[in-house]
């Protein structure tokens, strides 16, 4: 009897599944027919909601959806998560293209090579490598890349840090020599080097005695590692923490040690209200709108989205945390921002830094022969190193004086 009942139940289950499955498919098709005007776009994400890095992209995607809706373009986003590299990225790209997305954005550097292999099979879909540089150089027309000029935001965030340090010196909390910034870095990668150098130069412009320690974690994001590294930097004498890594643990570690902090990607004042002064971030809203609008209007998408920074709103600073920031920071930030936007102030002004005690007279921007060493396009002219000028992806990789790397080999 029990056996019979079991079989009966099983059969009933199977039928239920089958029946529900088919009815769902039917309703799905009906919906698709009614809302044919929706523009589908996809994003392949290196992480998920848990990473500050990815949250910054979701915020922009939502904002872009809202802005485009006002223009009469209805956007529907589809995300895939947690695939930093390799075949899973190709699978995601295919899946999104098959799902009818007109544009597929890949939000991390390591995803681009695989994205490019898929792109040739879907010539009508635009594949965008965000923070990448391989798409505009390849032979395909439907692959594009973008990297807003984040070094401008880094510099400005550095100014806020410098003001804080100088304030601490003026208040007698620290001596001039003790103005050491601790910077949690991901890898010794051009993007990171460009970022921390711009940050340091910003800080030094307001606190001339500032020096910096950079310690790499060998990962784009690892909450435990980031916290430990921030702690190590503080133990080494850092009195202010900043970061180029994906989580908020450097901020919370700074707060636990009573040390101020400057963040990246998102405002970290909510998790560390007594420490985090401000964050710089790339606001991808403009770019998302630009790409989607171009596709809808049948216009060509620029293959390299270059020279879009503070002035265009592609790079922004989060709200200033007045409780921690030095008095008068807001006003100084405003005036420095105006100077950067007008071009009066160059972030990598060669008169403000030295390499091995010498002023930099020449440095190449691009690599043309594929050996990963820059060999063309003189970046130093008119008294400054021109970052993100010949291509959007950062190429400033000089090791300037005043910055000490705690480690270099990681992995």
């Amino acid at each position: 009897m029990k056996k019979f009942l079991a079989i009966l139940l099983t059969v009933a289950m199977v039928f239920t599944f089958a029946a529900c499955g088919s009815s769902n498919e039917g309703s799905g098709e009906a919906e698709g027919g009614e809302e044919a005007e929706v523009v589908k776009v996809g994003m392949v994400c290196i992480g998920d909601d848990n990473a500050a890095y990815d949250r910054n992209f979701y915020m922009a995607a939502d904002a872009a959806k809202e802005r485009l809706a006002e223009e009469g373009i209805n956007v529907e986003w589809t995300y895939t998560y947690n695939h930093p590299e390799g075949d899973p990225v190709a699978v995601d790209c295919e899946e999104l293209a098959e799902a009818g997305c007109v544009a597929v954005f890949c939000n991390s550097y390591g995803q681009e090579p695989k994205m490019l292999t898929v792109a040739k099979d879907y010539p009508d879909v635009i594949f965008a490598g965000l923070t990448n540089e391989g798409s505009w150089k390849d032979k395909l027309d439907n692959t594009v890349n973008a990297f807003p000029s984040i070094y401008e935001g880094r510099y400005l965030a550095g100014v806020a840090a410098g003001l804080k340090l100088q304030d601490m010196i003026n208040n007698g909390e620290i001596t001039e020599e003790e103005a050491v910034i601790g910077y949690v870095g991901a890898y010794t990668f051009a993007e990171v080097i460009s970022g921390y150098t711009a940050f340091y130069l910003g800080a030094k412009s307001e606190c001339p005695s500032a020096t910096m320690l950079v310690e790499f974690i060998g990962s784009w994001g690892d909450p435990t590692m980031e916290a430990n590294t921030a702690q190590d930097l503080i133990d080494r004498g850092a009195v202010l923490i900043s970061q180029h890594s994906d989580s908020t643990t450097p901020a919370t570690t700074a707060q636990a040690n009573g040390v101020p902090h400057v963040g990246y990607n998102i405002s970290m004042s909510d998790v560390a209200p007594e420490a985090s002064i401000i964050s710089s971030r790339i606001d991808w809203t403009n770019y998302f709108c630009y790409v989607i609008r171009s596709i809808v209007n049948g216009e060509k998408v620029d293959q390299d989205y270059c020279q879009h920074g503070l002035a265009d709103g592609d790079v922004v600073l989060t709200e200033l945390n007045e409780n921690v920031a030095a008095p008068g920071t807001a006003e100084v930030l405003e005036s420095v921002r105006a100077k950067i936007e007008s071009g009066e102030l160059q972030v990598f002004d060669t008169s403000t830094f030295t390499v091995g005690g010498q002023e930099v007279k020449s440095a190449f921007a691009l690599d043309t022969d594929g050996d990963y060493a820059a060999d063309s396009e003189e970046a130093v002219f008119d008294g400054a190193f021109h970052e993100s000028y010949f291509q959007s992806a950062p190429y400033f990789a000089l090791r300037i004086d005043g910055i000490t790397l705690v480690n270099e080999a990681f992995s």
Partner: protein, 382 residues
């Protein structure tokens, strides 16, 4: 009889009808689906939509099927690699490292020797070198086990971390592309496996391997030796077999196949080498091997099932916003139920006071462990 009888006793059973065995398996699967459905409910998703989306996403269209096959290929290949080891009761937990080292060797030729030979030759060299490297990596713990009786479970496990560490070093060091990127450049097209029906030809290779492994395990002298050694080392020795030799040979064969799988992943799927090239396949394949009860053809079905689950998981993550970890939990539940039901197929529970015939021959002294190949047992008895 004054001794207290335990509430539940376990007894080996061998008399179950085939139809009943399959009924139990079906029930276990249904139970797993219901338990998984509960997890979906807790995660805030409609279980029926979730399951149907998983099936539609993995089998509903050509690209889905291709991706399922792509995921199944390394699983099947590695399960095949593990089968002879497990039949011998040699616990090779090191497939992960053997895959990684095989992929590393293949990548060496793909990156450094790409201009030295034409594409077909290059691919063959990559495959052979990967198999040799995998065999070497598996041979080290086997050598120690054969000569000094070291614990192969721990040894092969530790070898994994060394292999992954070596590739991590190459990725950030000598083979790194753009400085600081920690990424090895993509292979030249010459070093990429060609595709048939939209999937790299690894799928044909593993299907051939499945057939060969079946023959090897059931029809050859080697297979017989493995089965005997798996039952009892002393019996094998008494029968005049060179136990060390059989052990080393089998472990190297296993590692060789795993190395070949590494070649297929890096050359066919990733088109470059990552530290995570094995990506847990070496461990998941252990489950595949056991679920298939060492039967190569059953492994095809099991690895496809796992691939469907994995593909379905990413589909529901994209379309329904169900976190991938929820899908991982459900996959885990399904595997646990499927493995668990084998217990009820192989053993029966006797409750206190319900002994049908306490001295029945079914409670005999057979010490068979669930999962050991029926063929192997039969041959030993023969």
């Amino acid at each position: 009889m004054t001794e207290k009888v335990p509430l539940i006793r376990l007894a080996k059973r061998e008399d179950m009808a085939r139809s009943r065995i399959w009924l139990i398996r079906l029930l276990a699967f249904v139970l797993a689906l219901i338990l998984g459905g509960l997890v979906f409910v807790i995660a805030g998703a409609d279980p029926i939509t979730a399951y149907s989306t998983m099936v539609a996403g993995s089998l509903g269209k050509v690209t889905g099927i291709r991706q399922v096959v792509k995921v199944a290929v390394p699983l099947l290949g590695t399960a095949l690699a593990l089968a002879p080891c497990f039949a011998m009761r040699y616990w090779n937990i090191g497939a992960e490292g053997q895959i990684t080292m095989g992929a590393m060797m293949a990548s060496f030729f793909a990156l450094k020797m790409v201009n030295a030979m034409p594409s077909p030759v290059l691919l063959i060299v990559m495959g052979i070198s990967a198999a040799l490297m995998g065999a070497l990596w598996a041979g080290i713990p086997a050598f120690f086990k054969a000569h000094w009786g070291t614990n192969e479970t721990l040894f092969t496990l530790m070898m994994n971390y060394i292999a992954i560490g070596i590739v991590g070093w190459l990725q950030g060091g000598p083979w790194e592309g753009k400085p600081g990127s920690q990424i090895i450049p993509m292979f030249d097209e010459k070093a990429v496996l060609p595709s048939v029906f939209g999937v790299h030809i690894g799928w044909i290779i593993v299907l051939i391997l499945t057939f060969l492994m079946y023959i090897y395990m059931t029809k050859t002298k080697h297979g017989y030796e493995i089965a005997v050694l798996g039952e009892s080392e002393n019996t094998a020795r008494y029968a005049g077999m060179d136990v060390r030799r059989v052990m080393l040979r089998t472990a190297c064969l296993s590692g060789g196949i795993a190395g070949l799988v590494g070649f297929m992943i890096c050359s066919g799927a990733d088109e470059t080498l990552y530290q995570t090239v094995a990506g847990g396949v070496g461990f998941t394949a252990i489950t595949v091997t056991w679920l298939a009860q060492l039967n190569p053809f059953a492994m095809i079905a099991i690895s496809l099932l796992l691939a469907i689950l994995s593909k379905g998981a990413s589909t529901i993550q994209t379309t329904m916003g169900v976190p991938a970890s929820i899908s991982d939990i459900i996959t885990g539940i399904i595997l646990l139920c499927m493995l668990g039901c084998e217990f009820f197929i192989n053993y029966k529970m006797i409750f206190r006071g319900h002994e049908e015939h306490p001295l029945a021959p079914t409670t005999a002294q057979n010490t068979e462990v669930p999962g050991v190949s029926p063929e192997a047992v039969k041959e030993v008895k023969a």
